[in-house]
């Protein structure tokens, strides 16, 4: 009689504890909810020309310089293979802030081309800009040096 009373309450305790354990496991955030693999999960290689070009008044010299494209977008982990082409009168050199990537000093014309290649492994918004100071006597950069800025956007979005 004594044995059966404590035995039945022990069985009930074991059953209730089992149910509690099951609910606890189901409450864990990862159970049964692993993200489905998606087709675009593989890192991509983005191969682009980046033109350094300018505009001025009709028939006049270029006074405002810009990049085409002026914004590069990649996902974290994608590889970028970018060929800079300097189509302006003066020399320019471009650097990506935050990535320690830069071209040499590129003269204007067909010789002023260089490919840089790197993996966009840091998410964020980074400027790319001319690092050659304006020096008219040497044909280096142009008066609008400070505004020759483009942006690299590296997305940290889930794939």
């Amino acid at each position: 009689m004594r044995v059966s009373a404590s035995g039945s309450s022990a069985i009930a305790a074991a059953l209730i504890a089992g149910a509690a354990l099951l609910l606890s496991v189901l409450s864990l955030p990862s159970v049964g909810r692993a993200p489905a693999p998606s087709a675009g999960a593989e890192p991509a290689t983005i191969t682009l020309d980046l033109l350094i070009t300018g505009l001025g008044a009709a028939g006049g010299p270029a006074t405002h310089h810009y990049y085409h494209p002026s914004m590069i977008v990649a996902r974290r982990g994608d590889r970028l293979r970018i060929r800079f082409m300097n189509m302006t009168f003066a020399s320019h050199g471009i650097e990506f802030e935050g990535y320690n990537v830069r071209t040499g000093v590129l003269p204007g014309g067909p010789r002023g081309q260089e490919v840089v290649e790197f993996v966009a492994d840091r998410p964020g918004v980074f400027r790319f800009k001319c690092y050659v100071p304006y020096e008219p006597a040497a044909g280096m950069c142009s008066p609008d040096h400070d505004t020759q800025i483009g942006y690299l956007v590296v997305l940290d979005a889930p794939r």
Partner: protein, 153 residues
């Protein structure tokens, strides 16, 4: 008398009931899968844009490029492109991953394409009309006429 002699079973019973109540509270208050998986879902957008052949020249370098070069949309967005060729040579726009290909766009031609960006990834678009000077098809920099559509979750 019997019950007073065997308190262990009742202590276990009481503890397990407390554990069950705690577990039920935890289970009911767990966060939904959508919220833990990522940012809040947003209604699909319709992205309507002009996509043109832009020409650049300077210091003896000529370049023909798609403008804009980079498109970024979310999965499920509808992309609606008015593709136009103001260049003096013929071009053709192709985005193979979504089965998009215009007819040959002669100078001044345009074509509108619409599709749903239903897969995530980085997808290249380019000119699919090979360089042929006799036919005034595309230009020597044909292979560089490319851009990317990035589809994010």
């Amino acid at each position: 008398m019997n019950r007073r002699d065997s308190p262990l079973g009742y202590i276990a019973l009481g503890l397990s009931i407390v554990a069950l109540v705690v577990s039920i509270v935890m289970y009911m208050s767990r966060r939904p899968a959508v919220e833990t998986a990522g940012p809040v879902r947003v209604e699909p957008a319709r992205v309507s844009l002009s996509m043109v052949v832009a020409t650049f020249s300077g210091q003896g370098v000529f370049a023909h490029r798609w403008y804009p070069t980079m498109l970024v949309v979310r999965e499920g967005d509808t992309v609606d492109l008015a593709i136009a060729n103001p260049d003096e040579f013929a071009h053709q726009f192709e985005l193979p991953a979504f089965g998009i290909k215009t007819r040959i766009l002669n100078p001044g031609d345009s074509e509108r394409v619409t599709f749903v960006a239903d897969k995530v990834g980085v997808f290249q678009f380019h000119c699919s009309l090979p360089y042929n000077p006799a036919e005034r098809h595309c230009t020597p920099d044909h292979d560089e006429m490319r851009g990317y559509l990035i589809v994010t979750k």
